[in-house]
Amino acid sequence: MLDFCLRRLAILILSSGLVFAVQAESPRLTITGSSTVAPVISDIGKAFEQTNPGTRIDVQTGGSSRGIADAREGRADIGMVSRALNDNENDLAAYPFAMDGISIITHASNPVNALSRENTIAVFTGKITNWKALGGPDRPITVVNKAEGRSTLELFLAFFQLKNSDIRAQVVIGDNQQGIKTVAGNPGAIGYVSIGTAEFEAEYGTPIKLLPMAGIAPTTAHVADGSYPLSRQLNLVTAGPAGGLAAEFIAYARSASVNALIGEHFFVALSSAK
């Protein structure tokens, strides 16, 4: 019996060794970073695998900060970053491939259709705590904020010139989906998420409403023509100039052949923007 077990074990070890050998032979690209960028890059990766048989594209999420750290330290071949690079990140090479906007969202039943910049700041800093003060029903406001480190939060704070400690949130969320579910389940909630995801969810009947920013409707069209103020670049970054398979993939992600794929995720391909 034991003998039989050992023989099986030996076969198992041998065969797993073979599997490793096969994997090591196929060219492989590891891409990590922003959870906003990951789904679209994952789709582009699949298309790339089909046009380049034998290659493997491995996409993992974890936020822009992780994308930068991983690309810098060589844990990933390419990092995904959902904003322009900061001054202290000049050591990396950035390749923008699409644009995205951030929209303020409320529950679909909320009659308030627009918020001024001052009122938005007042709501998020806890100076206005009831929708009545904004012409809505007598209902407490639930401020939905993002967890520290997310690029959506950084962009939002920079746009309204706030510090995270100024914000008086009732709910803190991780990714866009959790934010949309939280707002959809609470008639008094207000939050902010990526326009791409919000537009997609609203189209499929999730009870959320996208509020205009400075009078401009949050649509992918306005992000495309550059008129929407709170928008951001989606970047692929590499440590130093990209080479080899990484360069091929980046060129593919920036080419016109993936415009339709990027559009499916409600982002705006950079080759079609402006």
């Binding site: 034991l2 900060s65 803190v172």
Partner: protein, 296 residues
């Protein structure tokens, strides 16, 4: 002929010695793993614990808020939140779990008993993220209609109570089943009523096993991450009422770890250490209590 091959095989494979190695190595590895994890946690947390980067260990308890990017690392509110959520869940899960155990062990008719037991076992097998999803889409809006925003300590307590109830119920039932039948028979012969027998004789007799189950349940409640993250609101503050949103230590790590760099990252490892310390204290308490009970 057959005999001979067997003995020869035995000489070729000294199976007892082999077994010792094959079982001993994984057992040692499991023990070493715990040590490795603690060493790793301390190693990763070291930069902020030594005070070299301008933060001292005390700042984790003194600072007002948790704004790691603004160098405020107050963790005490999250410690209180973790304790409040776990203990609140126990207040619900222990009486209900004990009731489940007593009902299925002594009171339920046979056909209900089987169904009931399999349902409790099924409840124990539901993945925590499913509880979380249900909580986020059903429970939180329900509480929100009554006391906005809904994502709150109460939601966390209810979800955790549901998740730990089967643990308490199953371990209590096993502890009750392990008491000698003569206890029940003796008590019944003294003419005690049924509820006196159950609550006055059998539950005290099975208390060690029941307590063990409760401690297991507290440890699970403290360690639960995904479900709590989805329903608790995750605002860092000391809970003042049941309807306040809270953030527990585990949710803090899960929310921010993927995005954290430098000091922020190290400080998350400090919350991991804190969590381990809390569970260690719990285990020590359990050990003491069960020992004193054995004598008393």
């Amino acid at each position: 002929m057959h005999e001979v091959t067997v003995t020869r095989k035995k000489q070729r494979w000294p199976s007892d010695a082999l077994m010792k190695v094959m079982l001993g190595l994984p057992a040692l590895a499991a023990a070493a793993l715990l040590l490795l994890i603690v060493v790793f946690l301390v190693y990763e947390a070291w930069p902020v614990m030594t005070g070299r980067s301008g933060i001292s260990l005390l700042d984790f308890f003194r600072s007002d808020g948790w704004y790691p990017l603004q160098e405020q690392f107050g963790m005490l509110p999250m410690v209180w939140a973790s304790i409040a959520a776990a203990l609140g869940a126990m207040l619900l899960a222990v009486p209900m779990g004990l009731a489940c155990a007593l009902f299925s062990q002594y009171l339920a008719p046979a056909w209900i008993k089987g169904l009931f037991n399999s349902m409790i076992s099924l409840l124990a097998g539901i993945p925590s993220v499913v509880f979380g999803l249900w909580g986020l889409t059903v429970l939180v809006p329900l509480i929100g209609q009554w006391q906005p925003p809904g994502a709150s300590l109460l939601a966390a307590v209810l979800i955790l109570a549901m998740m730990t109830l089967p643990t308490v119920a199953l371990t209590s039932r096993a502890a009750l089943a392990a008491t000698t039948p003569s206890l029940y028979q003796g008590a019944a012969m003294l003419g005690m009523s049924r509820h006196r027998i159950l609550l006055g004789v059998l539950v005290p007799a099975a208390r060690r096993g029941i307590l063990g189950g409760v401690l297991l349940a507290i440890a699970r409640a403290l360690g639960e991450t995904m479900a709590v993250l989805m329903v608790a609101g995750n605002v860092v503050q000391t809970p003042a009422s049941l309807f306040d949103p809270i953030r527990v230590l585990t949710a803090n790590i899960a929310l921010e770890m993927a995005y954290a760099v430098d000091q922020h990252r190290s400080s998350l490892f400090v919350s991991g250490l804190l969590l381990m310390a809390m569970v260690a204290i719990l285990a020590w308490l359990a050990n003491r209590m069960s020992r004193s009970m054995a004598h008393g």
